[in-house]
């Protein structure tokens, strides 16, 4: 497909841009509500995990990746080195490649000064909130002219909220220093369990099934994590994740080839 240069697009008025910005922020509200507890928890757990105040704020400000920030805290508390934390961050954030791949046709006509901030603000929540609207803009040139403002509205609302929650969490942690004895170390585990469980089920013809390759992935990753736990710098985490991904993907290929043989 030829890149669409949009020479026939009508220019959006400031009023239409403002409207799109507000609508984008509005569409993200439910997801923002879901992110609030994690932002607060991140701020609260940061100091007990060994992160200084400025680094906690900087992480929310410029890294801006909820699950990676959480995992970094867990690794820091376990005594991991910078290399392992950065490598884990990379692996955890690889899913953003999927999001940006899904929207690449919607952003390629924009100048770099738009694409850079849009990439910086790309999160699970903003992707979930904007992808439908952005993917429908091909049919409507006026919508397309303001789609990036819609995205920016979602992104700024999400980012602003994340900063507020981080501050709030830091404040709570200082007000109640013994909060870490309340079992907050389990809070991270239970959060991750709630994030993993949906992957284990898949919808097929309206019915829910176990997702066998995903089960193989998590069981092998879990066993490997136990077996490699004593490796230095938490390197076992990387070994376990790679094992799970390879075995899960192999099972997926095997399942696919079997389905093709059946068909």
């Amino acid at each position: 497909m030829e890149p669409n240069l949009n020479t026939d697009n009508p220019a959006a008025s400031p009023e239409q841009r403002r409207q799109a910005l507000l609508e984008g922020a509005q569409a993200t509200i439910p997801l923002i509500v879901g992110a609030i507890p994690f932002g607060i928890l991140f701020g609260t757990l940061a100091e007990p995990s060994g992160l200084s105040l400025w680094a906690t704020l900087a992480m929310s400000w410029i890294v801006f990746a909820g699950s990676a920030q959480f995992i970094a805290l867990g690794l820091l508390a376990g005594g991991a080195g910078v290399g392992v934390i950065v490598a884990t961050t990379f692996v955890v954030n690889l899913r953003h490649l999927l999001y940006s791949a899904a929207l690449v046709e919607q952003v390629r006509h924009l100048p770099q000064y738009w694409r850079v901030p849009m990439a910086f603000f790309l999160t699970d929540e903003t992707f979930a909130a904007v992808s439908n609207r952005l993917l429908q803009t091909d049919k409507d040139s006026m919508q397309k002219a303001v789609a990036h403002w819609y995205y920016l509205g979602s992104a700024l609302a999400m980012w602003g909220n994340w900063q507020l929650c981080t501050w709030l969490g830091i404040g709570l942690g200082e007000a109640f220093p013994d909060m870490t004895n309340w079992g907050l170390d389990f809070a991270m585990s239970v959060t991750f369990i709630g994030m993993v469980a949906p992957y284990l089920r898949s919808q097929k013809q309206g019915r829910t099934h176990w997702h066998t390759p995903m089960l193989i992935c998590v069981v092998s990753a879990g066993l490997m994590a136990l077996a490699t736990w004593s490796l230095p710098h938490k390197l076992g985490l990387i070994a376990a994740a790679v094992t799970g991904i390879c075995l899960g993907y192999s099972a997926h290929l095997w399942q696919q080839s079997r389905q093709e043989a059946d068909a």
Binding site: F64, R108, G183
Partner: protein, 106 residues
């Protein structure tokens, strides 16, 4: 621990992953097999963190009905598979965990 290096490193890999496809405006594409394989990344990484955290909370394998981390994790998994609601899972799991810590010996 060099925190400046940590933040800079995390920023570079996070922004890099988010920007590479948009920055090159789709000239750089990745094959379908890679996106299938990437689908396994979050579950694998999160599980590799959870399992040692709940089965080895003190650094040694603790497979026992007196391990509140393990029991609360199992309860959270069940409720999460059943209700598929993240906030409910967290509230329920934390409640079970705190009760177990009070009730269990040790």
């Amino acid at each position: 621990m060099n925190e400046l290096l940590l933040i800079a490193g995390m920023f570079i890999v996070t922004f890099g992953v988010r920007y590479i496809l948009w920055g090159s405006a789709g000239r750089f594409r990745f094959p379908p097999w890679l996106s299938d394989a990437l689908g396994f990344v979050p579950a694998a990484v999160l599980t590799a963190i959870i399992v040692p955290a709940v089965l080895m909370p003190q650094g040694e394998l603790w497979l026992s009905a007196a391990n509140p981390y393990m029991l609360a994790a199992m309860a959270s998994l069940v409720i999460s598979l059943w209700k598929n609601n993240l906030l409910l899972t967290i509230v329920f799991g934390m409640t079970v965990f705190m009760l177990l810590r009070v009730l269990l010996p040790g």
